[in-house]
Symmetry: C2
Subunit: 198 residues, 2 copies
DNA sequence: CACTTTCTTTAGTGATCGCTACAGAAAGCA
DNA sequence: TGCTTTCTGTAGCGATCACTAAAGAAAGTG
């Protein structure tokens, strides 16, 4: 065989994730990435392809680590209301966690993109649409189970909670702490339809 | 005297505003700006200083044109509740207006910034903080007038509505139309405290 | 007509962008 | 000890970044 890689690919990917999370896709240069990852450009390109593929891999990693709480909350709670409430509560904790950059990487890392990064912008947009659809599915469960009034606009509710989550991301990047985000989350629950009598 | 400027400075500023609004501060290059403004770089630098000062002038213009509806709504409505409701309703119309780029420029044009644009990022952050403070002042009016319960967390409410407004900006940039934004705005009003009996 | 002044244009500056050719270094097999 | 293979580091590719020196063009004053 031959010489093996001397750096930890997974650790380097995590460092790239932090860099992209902090500054966003376009504003994070290869020079900044290689400095954060502790490697030189040729090693980066050999291990990850190019900047875009590295970012796509970073997004996948983000989804199964820092962003996984949404999927878990939606899967594990018995009702749509409880699922939404838990997503908001955990987002408040996660977005303002000082152990990593603030906010949601899916929301904030490809906002200001030139035309050559339109595909990256679209990738994150698709993730946001899918997350909104996942919210709607759980709210639809409540509707189907008769826990909320018939005729409830579940798509509108899902859009509202997606809106709040995205706003919470912006708020945390503007310095809001977990307590402030929790208060926002609590207020947002006032919009959830009243439970129907069973 | 001497030769006069041959382009319309105000019109050129408006074109720069559109360009920055669409792509953001850093992602909009001087080449893109000059193309949009119909002038060459030296004319831009003679008339506006540099990229940062042009952007600052663009932000000021945005505040007194496209963004002025918030100030008006907050100043003209008799109660805090009505003021917040009108801000949300008009934001829904404004952010999704097809006559200009979607969303709010103050929210979305300096999200992904390198270290050399930190001051621009801070400028917009300050504007957002001030907008949130303006919301709080009107909610405090309702509190002082006894229209909402004593002990209401007005700072939390202001943060919530700022969060919703910022989320609506993101939603519109993801393709939400005015009707969808109006539904979000209507749901957000459910969080406003119930009017106290007088 | 000059002459001055300020605009606009052309054509570039050095720096940085994403990315890579090439050579040196390291690891397994003979 | 080669020899092969693949990684790593140096150094630099063309393109683009924000920005500007220098010359041409236009408008006013004599």
């Amino acid at each position: 065989m031959a010489r093996q890689r001397t750096f930890d690919r997974d650790l380097a990917l995590e460092q790239a994730l932090r860099a992209f999370w902090r500054r966003g896709y376009e504003a994070t240069s290869i020079a900044e990435l290689t400095a954060a990852m502790g490697i030189k450009p040729p090693s980066l390109y050999a291990a990850f392809g190019d900047k875009r593929r590295l970012f796509e891999e970073v997004v996948a990693r983000y989804q199964r680590t820092y962003g996984a709480f949404t999927t878990r909350a939606l899967a594990e709670e018995p009702t749509g209301r409880q699922a939404i409430e838990r997503v908001l509560r955990e987002a408040a904790a996660e977005y303002a966690d000082a152990a990593h950059p603030p906010g949601c990487m899916i929301v904030s890392s490809a906002v200001n993109c030139g035309p050559e990064s339109a595909e990256v912008e679209e990738l994150l947009r698709d993730h946001r649409k899918e997350a909104t659809a996942a919210l709607k599915r759980r709210i639809d469960d409540d509707l189907a189970a008769g826990r909320i009034p018939a005729g409830t606009d579940t798509a509108g509710l899902a859009a509202f909670y997606a809106c709040v989550i995205q706003g919470m991301s912006t708020q945390s990047r503007d310095g809001a702490g977990p307590a402030e985000l929790r208060r926002i989350a609590a207020l947002a629950m006032a919009a959830y339809p009243p439970a129907t009598a069973t």
